[in-house]
Symmetry: C2
Subunit: 317 residues, 2 copies
């Protein structure tokens, strides 16, 4: 089955499926595999210094002739340098997040770069559209990793945002099946961004322990932490228990910063310390049954989408 | 457009749309209007003594010849008496919540009553199915009022539960448009339960102030409170601010119980005290533009569903 929306046109891809840029997880290997499977792969610059990002971009170009992009969390202190790398290496697609969508838009556009921006509410979506972003990713609170503070779910956010936004809308957060993808398009999105499901693929650069933790995670195994500091959804472990206990005991930001400041993301997701690391994952982790190849993930997604659409049409007359 | 699933068959209704039973909001007037419009109206017994419930059941029967039901929160201390009333008054459909689904199932089934049970995770859904419930309502954390503690969103919960449950699944939480309804059925549900949207109708028994608060609520105006005591989503106000401040300051349950114990739900939703009352509402409140009649709500829902389905089909070939 072919699924074609404005998102396919915008990025020149076969399926309107974007692989979310993830720290420590989505390097050139994952991004190129996604692009080679017909989606849009994104290199996650959030955990890379400019030189490493340049290396990943080059390797990605060698591994695929198809479109790919870079995810840029703009809160990075060296984000100017990362932007320079992106432009120097002639990347053609950028997904920005965690910052004002207008920050680099002129630089990007004048270099022929297509820009999408990740938001967690309609207000931000309108802002992204107004500054000239080509697409908007609307991400609900079921997403893994860092989240907006409003706790809008993907279902609510898409219902609210879709009628108000003219540029193509990409749904993110909790989508881990073809049924989820069909629901996103039913809500008015024209594409999906999927993170957690791709984190558990063979091509992801996550530590094997973390991939297995994603496979083993059940429906009640993720939790929101650090509400006031760096709001994020993670797999429950000793680290998250400690943080939550302290949060609800009313400790100050400094204490939380000290707990967090121990490179917890790398520790958990790249080094595989499941006890003390920060294991960013969305609620969709409960749907992951095994570590698959990216190709298998795509085949299953599209097959499920097709059969769910058939079932859905069977309800109407 | 006709939309027909096993939910229509089970309850004998025209559209697979259930109006959620809500304290102080859904009496006979709302329930009968929903049933007369082709959905399934539910009288919310949670805020009624047995005699009042009996009165509402009788009035509902006078107002509609179509199927309607009663929602029974089983944590009520006098729930045995409410069950007796339900059976004595020959109600044919019951939605149970907040308790073990097997508690009254034999009594209900031996009286020819169709039973659905509200759950917030797959484990509970399997339990409800195993004790003999005829349908399961899977409710995500975007729902208004009391919520399960796992914070699974409707999108995640439905993706997880649908493949594992054989009886008809009804999606609840955050659904406030025809696009939301289409998404729910795309995810594998065969019906939707809608609360907040109906709370703001002409036929709802909510105070006018509360209805207006629902109309005025924006996307960032609901919040989760009372995580450890009586987890609920409400419209932000002085009451919710106070509770959250205390929750995150680590106060004991007794203090929270004292704040809550001032009949906050009635105060907010029935008496219309928007400052000190508890204003239960889901994230879908942001989609409510005006106080409509139940009939108008249905017309809009079905019209939106139809046009969203057409658009969705346009993406495929």
């Amino acid at each position: 089955m072919k699924i074609r929306t404005r998102v396919n046109e915008l990025f020149g891809i076969e399926y309107p499926v974007v692989q979310g840029g993830m720290v420590w997880v989505s390097g050139w290997k994952l991004a190129s595999a996604v692009s080679n499977s017909g989606g849009l792969g994104l290199i996650g610059a959030g955990s890379m210094k400019p030189e490493l990002l340049a290396e990943h971009i080059r390797k990605c170009k060698s591994a695929t002739g198809k479109p790919f992009g870079v995810n840029l969390p703009m809160l990075r202190k060296d984000s100017d340098d990362l932007v320079k790398t992106i432009i120097d290496e002639k990347v053609k697609i950028v997904f920005t997040s965690a910052g004002h969508p207008g920050k680099y838009i002129e630089q990007f556009k004048s270099n022929g770069i297509t820009v999408a921006h990740v938001v967690s509410n309609l207000k931000q979506a309108k802002k992204a559209e107004s500054v000239g972003c080509d697409a908007v990713v609307a991400e609900g609170v079921e997403a893994g990793g860092h989240n907006g503070p409003d706790e809008l779910t993907t279902l609510a956010l898409l219902q609210i945002a879709a009628p108000e936004i003219s540029v193509p809308l990409i749904a993110a957060g909790g989508i881990a099946s073809g049924r989820g993808m069909l629901a996103a398009l039913a809500l008015g999105a024209e594409g999906v961004q999927i993170g957690t499901l791709f984190a558990a693929t063979e091509e992801s650069s996550a530590h094997e322990n973390f991939k297995n933790a994603l496979v083993n995670a059940g429906e009640r195994d993720t939790v929101l932490i650090l509400r006031k500091l760096a709001f994020a959804r993670v797999i429950k472990n000793e680290f998250s228990d400690e943080v939550i206990k302290k949060e609800f005991a009313g400790v100050g930001e400094e204490t939380l910063k000290n707990i967090l400041g121990q490179k917890r993301e790398k520790l958990g997701m790249f080094d595989g310390d499941l006890k003390n690391g920060m294991l960013e994952a969305g609620e969709g982790a409960a749907l992951i049954e095994k570590i698959s190849s990216v190709k298998e993930v795509f085949e299953k997604l599209i097959e499920e989408y097709e059969s769910a659409l058939k079932k859905l049409n069977g309800f109407s007359s």
